[in-house]
Symmetry: C2
């Protein structure tokens, strides 16, 4: 197995990555093919598809090993289920699978596939790209019996200071504000953490985004350049 490409993503750390892909349509990523795979021929016809599967290696956590059972944050973090019954990053073979929308394909200088809605960490090694085949991959009658935890998306508000910063950044990072809203609405804090005073931070693009959170609302306090 060799990396055929590498991800350039707005998500600079695992913590910020939504546990529910597809709910952050403003998330941007690029898969840049690496030599010798960076030939336009490799992706000829890929523009005929709306979405792709990205098969990748969990490089950030692969050296932490795995356990037969894990505690999914979605189940509150205190119930153990089998690792093969989850999409946990800590797996026997650290292979990840994400579907994303194709935003564009550039082949003028190497090959770059622009994606939106991908839950991919910056620097992720890509093992394969496969077209999403609606007739095979979109299963209308599939179900998931895990009870949803019933939590609603958080309301996301911004401090005046954060609004000023984001307004100044709007030209260069037009999707940053929406992305922050989408990520925080899903409450990336661990399931067992609910401390309204504690300030959390996450690394999106080149910024530290700081926020506090109650059970119902997230307040972005600051957006700082790193």
């Amino acid at each position: 197995m060799q990396a055929i490409g590498v991800v350039e993503s707005c998500f600079k750390e695992k913590f910020a990555i939504p546990r529910q892909p597809g709910l952050t349509p403003s998330a941007e990523a690029i898969v840049r093919l690496l030599p010798p795979y960076d030939k336009p021929d490799m992706v000829r016809g890929l523009e005929q598809f709306s979405h792709v599967w990205v098969v990748f290696a969990f490089h950030g956590t692969a050296d932490q090993g795995w356990n037969p059972t894990v505690r999914p944050p979605k189940l509150g973090g205190n119930k153990r289920v089998g690792v093969l019954a989850t999409r946990s990053t800590f797996r026997p073979n650290p292979i990840g699978l994400s579907v994303a929308r194709i935003a564009g394909i550039e082949t003028d200088d190497g090959v770059r596939i622009a994606l939106t809605g991908a839950d991919l960490l910056d620097g992720t090694p890509v093992l394969d790209i496969k077209p999403y085949l609606p007739y095979a991959d979109a299963i209308d009658d599939a179900w998931n019996g895990y009870a949803d935890d019933g939590s609603l998306p958080l309301l996301v508000n911004f401090s005046p200071e954060a609004e000023v910063t984001l307004a100044a950044l709007a030209d260069q990072y037009p999707k940053l504000r929406d992305l922050i809203c989408e990520v925080l609405a899903q409450d990336p804090r661990p399931g067992y953490a609910d401390d309204p005073v504690r300030e959390y931070g996450m690394h999106l693009y080149d910024f530290n985004v700081r926020w506090r959170s109650t059970g119902h609302e997230a307040i972005v306090t600051r957006v700082e350049a790193r």
Copy 2:
């Protein structure tokens, strides 16, 4: 990367495997987890899902290498597209991806996950099992711009001899007749082959299935034990 399991499938050779997964619901496969992964804990909770992704190695063709472009049978076998724009088995990293319905999970003696509708070759090494997450994986508005080749499913008929054999096998292989119909309806012959006199053969379960085919009809001539 290590195999965590191995596939036991009705499909004993690549030729018989449908190019359109999901159209052969009678296809049966079992993923048997291998030591040290064959612990019931590994799949605890998996019964909460209707479908799984099987991430596997294309073991039958991995040693044949790959090319930047391939000629998909679906496009008639004469148009080249990039390998990353197809689900071809000949890929830079020979990783396959199939979704299948969970028919049952046995954990009394090792771990066996029974699947239906899987397009998996017997003996396939399994790298990972992941639950199918409808909210993330079933994309309603995904599209595939490749023109369908417009071909209708073939009518499938059986010779009297084949009918007698199948009737005698019905108790032990209750899905065999349906499976043959589903596989041949998709016309597994190469896109460029259309010789009504030639007899083809495929290996399903422990049988050689022989048939002839016109453009509209497949006639099963014989079903023989191997």
